[in-house]
Symmetry: C2
Amino acid sequence: MSKKPVAARQTQPSLRHVAARANVSVMTVSNVINGRMARVGKEVAERVRAAIDELGYRPQRSGRSLRLKREFALGLTVMHPDRRFLDDPYITQVAAGMSNHLATIGYGLMVNGLQDREALAAFVGRSTGYDGFAVMVSGGRDERLSTYRTLAQLNVPMLIVQDLPPEDLPAASSVRQDDRGGAAALTEELLRLDVRRLLCVMPRQIWPGTEQRAAGIADATRARIAEGQLVVDYLTSHEEDFETSVEEIAQRLSQGPAPDAIMGGNDQLGLAAIQACTRCGFAVPRDIMVTGFNAFWFRKFSTPVLSSVTSPAYEIGLEAARMLVRTIDGEEPGGQHKLLPVHPAAGGSIRPAAEPKFGIRDGEATAAAGEGHSSGCR
Amino acid sequence: MSKKPVAARQTQPSLRHVAARANVSVMTVSNVINGRMARVGKEVAERVRAAIDELGYRPQRSGRSLRLKREFALGLTVMHPDRRFLDDPYITQVAAGMSNHLATIGYGLMVNGLQDREALAAFVGRSTGYDGFAVMVSGGRDERLSTYRTLAQLNVPMLIVQDLPPEDLPAASSVRQDDRGGAAALTEELLRLDVRRLLCVMPRQIWPGTEQRAAGIADATRARIAEGQLVVDYLTSHEEDFETSVEEIAQRLSQGPAPDAIMGGNDQLGLAAIQACTRCGFAVPRDIMVTGFNAFWFRKFSTPVLSSVTSPAYEIGLEAARMLVRTIDGEEPGGQHKLLPVHPAAGGSIRPAAEPKFGIRDGEATAAAGEGHSSGCR
DNA sequence: CTGTTAGCGCATTCAA
DNA sequence: TTGAATGCGCTAACAG
């Protein structure tokens, strides 16, 4: 029996209400809820559960958080100039992976888009409410590092997606996909098909991943370029405005000597390249081969289906959530770095002979190779 | 001077630490932080601000939440069988709209995907931590209503996106786009172009919006069907597997008499229809006209660009957040219902003459009509 | 203008 | 096995 009368409340019932109703102390109710059945008699537990049901009681996060110094939530912070920051399949897959993993352990995911440094400052000044967060930042490396340093002031575990932290943030973890290796492997595959002139179309809006892909292409082409066996051209294009991309690529195609292959820095640009080829009268893949990167669902919207590289974005989200939670739980220090492999995504925009030889995983590549073939425009 | 010594803590500084450092009481610090400058001397405020900066203090949400009975966060709950629930442009735009509005008022957005009723039950049993939530549910109407009823047990303001609540939930609000009217207008436009046989391709996975679009098509065709001037066929197709959709539509095209137009229940299916037409040797829009719905960015990936209807999904997110917050603040009761207009999104997959006459907004439609024309495959 | 008191809901600690 | 006391960080209400 509680001495203090329970104040009349319009709001949610609390432990006290349940305790009063079940004629037990609040601690007993707390123990029942948290499954500490060793400390509660069976009959009492039943009574408590009945009271919980009758009152529709659900534990209130804020009290629990205050007591345990745990928010039971992670953040996903995206620094990107477009206000529709979420409208990017990469980000949504990471978010879905995080959210789904967190749901299994009773955590929530808070998403935040920061359009500029001003929003970043406001965010850092205000934000609490999670135990750790993952961050995805667009822009050049220096800009990104500065953003990471600012975010580190939040003073909770931070995990960087698709990028490495600067050395002065040893506590920051990271999860990346092997963009560099994947791009190199893809490039080598094209080179094996006698590509002598290659056009790389990179997005104007830089992300860490696209930087790495450019590096991978450079890795794979350096020797041949030196030998004079290969010419690599670059074109920077808006990925946001598809039609503009198509025109920019088409214009380039109509100017100089035609490339044997076009590598898009992502799938959007790969699709734009296919359209540009078609528009200029080149057949894909016969005259020009085309590749994308990430193998998102919309790569199938082209004819032929865009050959690409499968991104484990969803798995990155899962892993990011797992790593952060382990660090928060003190099971693992910060500063961990994971690199997930990428796999070839067969399509019809590379000449078929190439597909089975791509990458390490012969079996999978062969199995997947059939995937795109039925969609040819015959 | 605080009597109780401030315990040594590894964690974040609290008001007490700041107060001790600035030699003031906690309330003064609180007042400074909350901008109640009328109650604080100018010099003292400066000293407090200095202490805040030196300690890197940020207010802790849980204490504030506990005291004020406010979580300063909204939820976005998506009930959909695919674990990659976020991988849908409609949902991401709603989420971005909500998140961006909430950021301006210091609120957070928590996203949740529920794959099945089991996850739903777990969610309802556990979830606290927001002051209200928006919900997007796929499936048939009865299923959806049952989901809304279950979610209503959370006992915080609920706003349904793209659907109306059942009558026994008068407190639930909603925001929708005018799918029915938009689909009807689009259909009428096609009928004006002498369509005598129409094929509607609807997704297998139902959402409230697709249901409404089907209703709109029925509205617009009923009379002509009765007069024997029009035949409408229906095809249900997976939108998830693009290649399968293309094949299903192509098969239908090769079976019976060819339709004059194909209406896709969404943009994915519209794109699939264009590919199916091409594959079967029909020119779009000359032989068969094709439409989609929502006008998401990827509609431009086809040649010709898919004619569609612009969805205000982002604005729906903004409005959802605004309405929920107003209800939470007690400025407005629940049970409000908003319907946002849709607009034609000109493309090349309807014969050009049609575009300017579409819908109400002649000026806008005419202006937009040029948009798609340059991308024809000429 | 500034300080004191009290209590939000919960779980750890200790006592019965 | 159960209960009572305590305090996490914060702010409304009131006292000085």
